[in-house]
Amino acid sequence: MRIGVFICHCGSNIEGTVDTATVAKASLDFPEVVYATDTMYACSEPGQDGIIQAIKDKNLTGVVVASCTPRMHEPTFRRAVERAGLNRYMFEMANIREHVSWIGKDREANTNKSVDLVRIAIEKLRRDAPLSPSKFSINKRVMVIGGGVAGIQAALDCADGGLQVVLVERESSIGGKMAKLDKTFPTVDCSSCILGPKMVDVAQHENITLHAYSEVDAIGGYVGNFQVQVKKKATYVDWTLCTGCGACMEKCPSKKNPDRFNEKIGPCTSINIPFPQAIPKKAVIDPTTCRQFVKGKCGVCAKVCPTGAIKYDMADEIVTEDVGAIVAATGYDLFDISKVTEYGGGRYPDVITGLQYERLLSASGPTGGHIKRPSDGKEPKNVVFIQCVGSRDKSLDRPYCSGFCCMYTAKQAILTKDHIPDSQSYVFYMDIRSPGKMYDEFTRRAMEEYGARYIRGRVAMVYPKDGKMIVRGADTLAGTQVEVEADLVVLAAGAEAAVGAPKLAEKLRISYDKYGFFMESHPKLKPVETNTAGVYLAGSCQGPKDIPQSVGQGSAAAAKVLALFSKDMLESDPQISRVDIKRCVGCGKCIITCPFKAIKEVEFRGQKKAEVIETVCQGCGLCTSTCPQGAIQLSHFTDNQILAEVNALCQS
């Protein structure tokens, strides 16, 4: 082998604390290295050209680049060596930026460590073999999980692009959080007026299959060929018959159940259609409150239903959908305000969340759009908004900013004044975050036109006294304590990952952060991709987002799916396991442990042997560490390659 080694300065990112020239010089002392140099930016066009030129000039057959993490530029350099005529797998990287120059300042130690990392990369490269991918066909259907605005956008864009789309929604109607909003900032558009048409488009699009009131149960397969089991939860109403007329809701005797669509500040019936514009507009029975289920007798809805759609004996149903790509758009949920005991959320009825306030503002809400406080139905005059409840708060393990609360609070302050002209709003805030088009202007209007009093400081406690809520906090600009006698307190509850998000991530085999938000492939350059091929993200499941951001991501994810499906065949990663048939004793331990069922038993000259199914193998290498005789080896990560790395490190 003729190896070339390229040590990247990365400007001063590496060179600042690593003597790259010394590393290059030391590399020349390693076996089979015939060329070594340092280079300013290996990934830049001149950098890559330099590598290609060296491959040609020096007849290199393998290349090591010591630069940033292979998770960043391995594909870049693989393409470069391929352009120079080498097999793309005759290439290794040493990560001397993230793992060396950026984590230590000791130049001597960093240089020395870099040499070591180059050494193990060379030892691995010496045992690399050229690999070539094989092709497999794909199923050009896409599943979108979650029917909020991001999921709706992704589904519509994919469907308009000619793809068959399966949209799965946990609730009985799509619409998500946006459907609950009264108005949207900064235009103060009616939320349901702009979302409604899109929901209707979903219902009417011939390419979209909607599974509402359904959840993803299990996911098998891999990019191009996923099998998703969808659990259609029992609605106890035959939706093929239900016309959404609402007769059942009128007559249902169980009327005092907390209405989840109204964030539990209003009642609803046990058989219910959550809101008038619901898509699909179908009724669902809640068996935990329905008298027929709880007491065993009632049956009123069955009697009044003009189409005979009520089916009390309905059971959950599993349907399997085969798709080639999946977009996760499961959105967010709200931080539980009762955890902030000093504010009394959950204990005091007049301490509510911003989303509950949206329902109070909404004409389709429990109060018909009149602001009435929950405790006594009185119209509040003084409304206090408290920002960052469950956001930017390390003590609650919620250190991140939820992003959209500042804006919706400004909107709510404006709407409060619109609804109750003699009202006064107070906003306790930490900072105002309004970095969007027309956003900061909007908050200014709340203060200046609508007279909302913004108080910079945290609230220490909220307590009731004589029918008022006393809000005590600090005004850090004035340097004083303030107490406000409020009629209603609205907490800007932070956004957190949707309930069950980690479980879905596990099914999707994607990562999630400690708060349950899904991990993108790269925070800047691959914001809607995940580390699992064929799985994309849209909306707040990746982190808190406002509506335009969510819509943008929905479209972005759709674009990714459309690009993926623009080919008829996909190339499989050739870094898969291969069986040395001479060494295999046919014990089947690899077959038992393979997470992908990618290994099967075959007969070879009368003996049992293992065989890897190329397109199914995902290259985890579990089989290699399971096989005692080392008969099944993961290409590019063989035992001998890892042993060579170990030996190189332990040879002193």
Partner: protein
Amino acid sequence: MAAVKYIASDKLPDWLKSLAAKSRVLVPVAEGGGVVFRPYAPGCRPVFDSDATAPPKGAVFPACQELFRYEQGKDPEDPGKPTLKLIASTEAEPTVVFGAKPCGARGFLIFDRVYIGKKFPDPYYIAAREATVFVTMACAAANVENTCFCHWVGSGPADGSGSDVLLTPVAGGYTAEAVTDKGAALLEDPALADGAAKADEAAAVKAAAREVLGEAPDIAASPAALLAAFDDADFWRDQSDKCVSCGACTYLCPTCYCFTITDEPKGMSGRRMRSWDACMHFQFTLEASGHNPRPTKAHRLKNRVGHKFSYYPTLHDGLVACCGCGRCIKSCPVSVDIREIVQNAVARAKG
């Protein structure tokens, strides 16, 4: 032959100490549950009354031996052009193997014909062999074990072939007889006294030991008999059924001389090593293609027995490549008995 000398048991440490001053002295010592040859150090207690678990083969033919080292370099003008330096040494440390049984020393007779032959003289072996002196301990009657069969192969409990000095246990000490000139030189040590008076007792000890072994069966027909059985697969299946293909028999055999060569590169340097091979292992004649002409243990056992009792004697003037020490029987986990196989082959040939 020089005169018989005598050394009292309590003088033995003096002699060993004086030998150890000049060379490495390997003596049989108990280690864990076995007896192995280890360098003599004051205070160490050699075990002379039973045969060592492992013979002193490694004293001349180590289990693993570096043939040479190499160091690669690079032409500074053209790093693609490698330079290579080989470092090899056949130098052997002067060694006295003290207290092996006659069978253990006799094994080297079989080695010598292979490694000191005219065709392929082996410098490593020759150097080590020349640097090594064997002071051998003849067996007394009580040392003869059920697995001993040295008398089958032309040897015996007082066989001096392969040795330089032969000691014989007598009351209070040992008589010492020089077998070679190298051996005679060793006996010029003040710890040794004249042993003429003990010569008769020594002869009696030797005779008594030989007596215990009894009559040896005639195995003169074994070379032909084993060849005749060469293609009898069922015969070899039956003989090898219980063999588990381990290397205990061959690695403990004083006469097994097969080796394999491996290279161990490490960065820019490396070593080429010669190590014991075992014909019982699958890898013994495994070819690079994956093909193995001796794929089963039956093939391999046939080779081991055939080599010792047929092919080698045929090539080497009838010398059987076995010293009859019985280690292969005694140490076999399943008690495969080479005597029985040879006799079965002879019996088979007779019909």
